[in-house]
């Protein structure tokens, strides 16, 4: 299956390599560099490359390329999914997945990779099991380790792998028993020039943070489960119960995890929280253009819209901008041609507006197309689909846990065409 893994940064340095079978020389990456050269943008590098003897499957995460070398037929999604799992694990261990972090913890990362794959086939990918074998670094532990010469490798051998519930480690103990659930919904929408919605849908995810002692068995039920159209679960969720009763019954992993992803059925009309009035014009002569954007609230369900931000990828010809916002700040990166207008809170009384002129490269033809606006926003304490958690019950343990549910609505891929 997965033969070798190379971690490559954006400038093309290989800073970590791991081989699960015989060693494969670094030169194999040259094919990748060639493709990278051609693609210009790192996102555009094809994920699967064919070379005379190997296949290269790459993912791009956190400004890093995870390049795996494959020799025989394998489901490409299998590899891609696994590479993302590696990135997730690193993020889980060290808080972020970046070159510096990996370089600082190179031994731990190497050990993790050793445990995650055996002969190229996934062995232990549950973070709970891995954490039992290789303890994640904490500041306290690193101080203690340097003083005592202790280690961060678990001296206990993992038992989780042997149990029926591999995602949970045994013997968890907390003084404060807490279970928090964040219901996060994202609106994906395409709004066309005239303001009509071309396409809109709601994707939701329930992120959980569960710190409960022992082996709790939780049941989460919704007031209106019929809203959920398509769902995918963490392996801990008992699918049969969901099928039969529409409740989530599960023994949770310890710590943070994604309980479920869902898609709200498309019959429901999606409320679009804001409207955008924009006009972007480029003039045929004089190599300049005008920009005027106003944002106002549309269907916000009485909540305030926060974290409002507009991102515009300008045409290549736009050299600089001269824009004045009535609210927030506006920056333009002339290298990447990205205009960012960070508005913040939306005040319905005084609508934020951005206007001014764009100056263009002289002599360049008028751009064919107006750039589209990407909107970012956040509404606290609201699940835009109307989904509500009705109750959380715990079985199997005696203590009373502290329970909390939070709702957030965000803009996902929210795009306004102009």
């Amino acid at each position: 299956m997965i033969h070798s893994l190379f971690l490559i940064n954006q400038s093309g340095d290989i800073f970590l390599e791991k081989h699960w079978k015989s060693v494969i020389g670094r030169s194999v990456c040259d094919y990748f560099f060639e493709a990278k050269e051609k693609a210009v943008e790192p996102e555009n590098v094809p994920p699967v490359l064919q070379t005379p003897h190997h296949y290269l499957i790459t993912i791009f995460r956190g400004k890093l390329f995870f390049l795996s070398v494959i020799q025989t037929e394998v489901s490409p999604l299998f590899v891609i999914e696994f590479l993302h799992r590696i990135a997730d694990t690193i993020q889980d261990y060290f808080g972020e997945c970046s070159e510096t972090v990996i370089k600082d913890n190179v031994v731990t990362v190497y050990e993790l990779l050793e445990e995650m794959l055996d002969n190229g086939f996934p062995l232990a990918t549950e973070s709970n099991i891995l954490k039992e074998m290789i303890k994640p670094p904490t500041i306290l532990r690193s101080v203690v380790n340097t003083l005592t010469g202790g280690s961060n490798v678990g001296d206990m051998l993992p038992t989780g792998q042997l149990s029926n519930i591999p995602w949970r480690r045994a013997g968890v103990k907390y003084t404060n028993n807490e279970a928090y659930f964040d219901v996060i919904e994202e609106i994906d929408a395409i709004v066309d020039k005239s303001g009509t919605t071309v396409f809109a849908e709601i994707q939701g995810v329930i992120e959980a943070c569960v710190r409960l002692s022992g082996m709790p068995d939780l049941t989460l039920s919704f007031m209106n489960p019929s809203l959920l159209d398509d769902v995918s679960f963490h392996p801990c969720v008992r699918f049969k119960r969901w099928e039969a009763e529409r409740v989530l019954s599960f023994i949770p992993p310890d710590g943070n995890f994604t309980l479920m992803n869902y898609h709200v059925s498309s019959q429901n009309v999606v409320a679009i929280p804001v409207y955008v009035k924009q006009s972007i014009n480029f003039f045929e002569s004089g190599s300049c253009g005008r920009l005027d954007i106003t944002i106002g609230p549309k269907q916000t369900m009485g909540k305030t819209v926060e974290g409002l931000m507009v991102t515009v990828h300008m045409p290549k010809a736009v050299l600089s901008v001269n824009l004045t916002p009535t609210q927030g700040s506006c920056t333009y990166d002339s290298a990447t041609k990205v205009l960012v207008w960070d508005i913040g809170k939306l005040n319905p009384q005084k609508l934020p507006n951005l206007r001014g002129s764009l100056s263009m490269q002289s002599g360049a033809p008028k751009p064919e197309e107006n750039p589209s606006l990407n909107i970012d926003l956040k509404i606290q304490q609201l699940a835009i689909s109307g989904l509500k958690v009705s109750r959380l019950d715990m079985y199997g343990e005696k203590y009373k846990p502290f329970k909390g549910v939070k709702y957030v609505t965000k803009a996902g891929k929210f795009q306004v065409r102009s």
Binding site: Y110, N119, D188
Partner: protein
């Protein structure tokens, strides 16, 4: 530092070395120093040394051997995790000399007690195989052994090994097929992917194509095909149709029925579409695409669309597959059209793929929306994407005739676009479109001719020239002019343009030689001295062909025909058209080229191979099935009930007959999974056949209700139901013919019933008798019961089911239960056979062995008397009850030809010499079921006839009660933890929340005895609050004497938890299911 005594220093040194390895630096010089530390006590140092060893052992083979003994010692360690890690490292060291050691270690580990070690062994197999392929035969043996493993931990890894070592040995899968299907949902996600892919291949070799007669049903499909304008395709379709018609004709003769195992696979993989792992979802999707009947494939669309929210790499792969699927099954994704709309932030490759999908999805109804979308895309800044969009518009235009003109106009407008790439692409596409109907569009050709002044992209110029040349008759005035211009710039053109200029010249020469003769000669002369030999050759060739000389032969006569032949319009096809011959989701599919190690997806077989190869001894297959599908099965049962509620004893046999004929196997030993698999199908078929009968029944019911109080008929019904269930269970493995004839007789008798009042009432009495007999508490005392019936008019009370149903009034139930006890008392004094002690509160269910109609008047029922079978303590006592309903006497009842699974034994009942008409008799036989629920088959013989019958015990009857104190119970329970413990949560039925009913129901379901509640509650770890009592039951299996411990912990609102501890997991799982059923219904 490595030589230091301090672990901390060693650790520091090792860390540095490993960091070097990670960065790709060579650290092989340190090998001797490192290998010394392999026996180090510090676990972290040890781990790092292992890491080092695995990396460099290949290069330093001799030195690596020094470490082997450490691992060999590790293999014998009592700790399973150390054994596993030793095996893991040992097998990772790629040193050929140790192959025999590895082989030995793998073999040993494959039969290790710990499933984790076995898993590691499975991992080690491909390692050894790649090191030394000559070990293949031995490794296959190990794989075969591990494939039989029942734990989920091992399943994924061993299938992986199977795929790497011997994917061609599909025969190894047969016996494990059902098990793998059933385990699938509990296997870890990576294993699931591998197993699903393997099973897809397997299913392709073993089952018939479910869409074999789709052409009969395929109105929608043929409708779609008319959209394609191109002739080619239709020809193909027709061919295909012919083929299909052939197969359909075949199918008509023998209608396609899905193999229950095929159905099992589809059903068990479906929940995995909800997995969080994209690879698993994709694997299931491809399985459905390749294996499922057309109508069912649709379920995967939603899941695949969900994956489009994932990382862009995942999107890339998924879209590739969706693109392939949309070509074959367009309808599936049509509702999700908008999910494929393109955002400006998508990477180019994703955009292009989405475009592909949108194009494939386009049809008359949605084309306007799609074209509007395309219009926005054309303005994109991403020029590659714009070019792809133009291509897509072209394809839409060719496929959908209605919009061809609109598209063409749109594309012509694009010709005035400022971006040259866009224009060039448009020209190319327009050229293709025009070829379809050139007559109408001479003005477009003129317009394009003008463009030659501006467009510089060679491909576009070449296309225009070709167009003008081809249709020079439509533009007779412009063409020579264009040629003139081109001749001027000939030397500066690109090669492909030059070739087209020559081409144009030649064509014009042929059609309009007056005006162009000189020009052509000029162009040919220029070409003659061109640098490119292709062009020189072409010029020479054309000159010979078109300019008539003496030498030139016959060919020049045909020059006109050669050049101006009508050319077929090109077909704009999706690049994904033929990709589906690769297994979807595979690397090969993605690359559209065969990757190394790709296993071809086989074609469906013409005729299904023998399905009985998958039959496993019931002992193995049943428990898994119950574990995974118990819920589903129960649901099915519930659904089925209404159908059965009135028809007497018919549904059971019907179903079993159906399922048997479905599978076409005719195998007598219909294992549990087969039945459940076919359940849904037979349901449907029953619905139809029974509807008429049900009408009749309704009539009958109303009549009954006139005679009796309402609640009686209600309860009667339920008791009948129960009886039917039993009948079904016991009959399930009866031969087809028997059950079918049975059914017919039954319906006949029923129809006669509804006709004549008299006979009806008679039949009803009979029926009631039977109902009464079937009623559990009365069972052991049938004789007395019946006698009394004639005298006492309490007959109706007997019809009450002992399990209280809401409608039953308390008085009645009280009465009936008191009657039961009375009758019990009677039996105690009367019965010769029943020994002195009775299981106190347990009601005995009776099962039908031989129906009175099948048995030509002889009716035989049996029940498990729950008495120790005195001649042999390892046998379960089965009490047989014979009733002779015939008019003639039955003589010499005995059994013959006992067929048993290995290990089982039977002690026959003594021959009954004479059973006079109308009389009943009882006999006891003993069966040693070997602690399995396999059926004992034998023939029941009278003087004149032989009947095939079988007795299959419910798991609860395979044990005998033992008395334990609470302390003993807990102690034993403590030793039966882990794998031997099965826990289920349940909600108690509303009628079953008090102590009495719980105890009664558990003991009715299984032959166990209650463990008295001790006073030592305070020392039990989870102290239950006093109002939530704990019930404990204990027993031993009859044959092996393994302990069976059952605990029911109740909580508020009827919630409860059921725990079964049993050394025999098979028994445990089945018992859980049975008790669960007893407590929740």
């Amino acid at each position: 530092m490595l030589d230091s005594n301090k672990d901390s220093l060693k650790l520091e040194a090792m860390k540095r070395i490993v960091a070097m390895i990670a960065r790709g630096k060579n650290a092989s010089d340190l090998f001797p120093a490192v290998v010394k530390n392999v026996a180090c006590k510090n676990i972290e140092v040890k781990k790092l040394v292992y890491v080092y060893l695995v990396r460099y052992a290949e290069e330093q083979q001799d030195l690596a051997l020094l470490s082997i003994s450490t691992f060999q010692r590790g293999l014998k360690d009592p700790n399973q995790l150390i054994r596993a890690s030793a095996l893991r490292v040992l097998s990772s060291i790629r040193v050929t000399i140790i192959v025999p050691i590895m082989m030995l270690a793998i073999k040993e580990a494959a039969s290790d007690m710990s499933p984790y070690v076995r898993k590691t062994a499975a991992h080690a197999i491909p390692k050894l195989y790649s090191l030394d392929p000559e070990q293949k035969d031995q490794l296959i043996e190990v794989i075969e052994k591990l494939l039989a493993d029942k734990t989920t931990l091992v399943a994924g890894s061993v299938v992986m090994a199977f795929e790497e070592v011997c994917p061609e040995r599909i025969d190894l899968i047969h016996k494990n097929y059902r098990k793998l299907c059933n385990l699938l949902i509990d296997v870890e996600e990576w294993g699931q992917v591998v197993i699903i892919n393997m099973l897809t291949r397997y299913a392709r070799t073993q089952f018939l194509n479910p869409n074999i007669n789709e052409s009969l049903l395929e109105e929608g499909g043929s409708g779609e095909k008319t959209f394609y304008g191109s002739d080619d395709e239709e020809d193909e379709d027709e061919e295909e149709k012919e083929k299909k018609a052939e197969t359909a004709a075949m199918a008509k003769r023998k209608p396609y029925v899905m193999d229950p195992d095929h159905r099992l696979l589809l059903r068990n993989t479906k929940p995995l579409l909800q997995s969080r792992n994209a690879a698993v979802v994709m694997a299931v999707a491809q399985l459905y695409f390749h294996l499922a009947p057309k109508a069912e494939v649709g379920v995967i669309a939603k899941a695949l669309v969900r994956l489009l929210r994932s990382h862009s790499e995942v999107q890339y792969v998924v879209l590739q597959n969706v693109a392939t699927m949309t070509i074959k099954r367009r309808g599936m994704f049509e509702p999700y059209l908008k999910s494929f709309y393109i955002r400006s932030t998508d990477p180019t490759q994703i955009k292009v793929l989405k475009l592909e999908v949108l194009t494939n999805l386009a049809n008359e109804t949605n084309i306007s929306t799609i074209l509007r979308e395309f219009q926005t895309y054309i303005k994109s800044m991403d020029k590659d994407f714009v070019a792809a969009t133009i291509q897509a518009i072209g394809r839409c235009a060719t496929n959908i005739g209605e919009v061809r003109d609109t598209c063409l106009n749109g594309l012509v407008q694009l010709l005035s676009n400022r971006d040259e790439l866009v224009v060039a692409e448009s020209v190319v596409v327009i050229k293709k479109l025009l070829q379809m109907q050139p007559e109408k569009h001479s003005d477009i050709i003129k317009h394009m001719a003008k463009l030659t002044d501006n467009i510089q992209v060679p491909m576009a110029r070449a296309s225009i020239l070709w167009l003008i040349g081809e249709y020079c008759e439509h533009v007779p005035k412009i063409a020579p002019d264009v040629l003139r211009k081109m001749a001027k710039s000939f030397t500066n053109e690109e090669d492909i343009v030059k070739l087209q200029i020559i081409n144009l010249a030649a064509k014009l020469y042929l059609t309009n030689s007056k005006q162009t003769k000189l020009l052509t000669q000029y162009v040919l002369n220029l070409a003659k001295y061109d640098q490119n030999y292709d062009i020189r050759d072409r010029a020479r060739f054309i000159r010979q062909l078109i300019v008539p000389t003496e030498k030139s032969g016959a060919l020049s006569k045909y020059a006109k025909k050669l050049f101006l032949a009508l050319k077929p319009a090109p077909v704009l096809e999706s690049p994904f058209k033929d990709r589906d011959h690769f297994q979807l989701g595979s690397l090969s599919h993605l690359l559209n080229a065969k990757a190394g190690g790709y296993q071809e997806l086989p074609d469906w077989p013409e005729a299904a191979p023998d399905p009985s190869v998958r039959n496993v001894e019931v002992k193995e297959s049943v428990p898994e099935w119950t574990k995974c599908s118990s819920r589903e099965k129960r649901k099915e049962k519930k659904v089925e009930k209404p159908f059965y509620s009135d028809s007497e004893g018919e549904s059971g046999p019907t179903e079993s007959a159906d399922s048997e004929s479905d599978s076409g196997s005719g195998s007598e030993s219909a294992s549990g999974s087969e039945v459940s698999a076919s359940g849904s199908e037979s349901e449907e078929s029953e619905e139809g056949s029974e509807s008429e009968e049900e009408e009749q029944k309704d009539k009958k019911k109303t009549k009954k209700e006139l005679k009796k109080p309402v609640q009686e008929s209600e309860s009667e019904q339920s008791s009948e139901e129960e009886e039917r269930k039993h009948a079904r269970k016991s009959k399930i493995s009866k031969s087809e013919s028997e059950s079918e004839s049975d059914e017919e007789d039954e319906s006949e008798s029923e129809s006669s019933e509804s006709e004549s009042e008299d006979s009806e009432s008679e039949a009803e009495v009979k029926k009631k008798k039977k109902a009464a007999e079937s009623k559990p508490p009365c069972k052991p005392v049938k004789k007395e019961n019946k006698k009394e019936k004639k005298e006492i008019s309490l007959l109706d009370l007997d019809d009450f089911d002992p399990t209280p149903s809401p409608q039953v009034t308390p008085v009645n139930s009280f009465l009936s239960s008191s009657l039961v006890t009375d009758l019990e008392g009677l039996s105690l004094s009367d019965s010769v056979l029943a020994p002195a002690t009775m299981a106190p509160s347990s009601a005995l269910k009776s099962y039908e062995l031989l129906h009175r109609i099948t048995g030509e008047g002889l009716q035989v029922e049996f029940c498990f008397s729950r008495q120790p079978f005195s001649p042999d303590a390892n046998m379960v006592a089965v009490q047989m009850h014979f009733t002779n309903n015939a008019s003639a006497d039955a003589k010499s009842l005995h059994m013959e030809d006992v067929k048993l699974q290995s290990g089982m034994r039977v002690r026959e009942f003594p021959e009954i010499e004479l059973l006079p008409a109308g009389e009943t008799a009882t006999a006891v036989m003993g069966i040693d079921f070997c602690d399995s629920t396999q059926a004992a088959n034998f023939q029941l013989c009278t003087q004149t006839r032989k009947f095939f019958v079988s007795i299959q015990p419910p798991v609860g009857e395979l044990m005998r009660p033992v008395f334990l104190t609470e302390n003993e119970f807990k102690k034993e329970q403590g030793q039966l933890m882990g794998m031997n413990e099965i826990t289920e949560k349940l909600t108690l039925d509303a009628t079953c929340r008090n102590e009495h009913t719980i105890v009664q129901r558990v003991t009715a379901a299984a032959n166990l005895s209650r463990v008295p509640c001790g006073s030592d509650k305070e020392c039990s770890p989870p102290v239950p609050p006093p109002d939530h009592p704990v019930y404990r039951f204990a027993g031993r299996t009859v044959t092996s004497g393994s302990l069976v411990l059952v605990t029911v912990v109740t909580r508020e609102e009827g919630a409860a938890q059921l725990t079964v501890n049993c050394e025999k997991m098979v028994i445990g799982t089945m018992l859980v299911k049975d008790i669960l059923l007893a407590l929740t219904q």
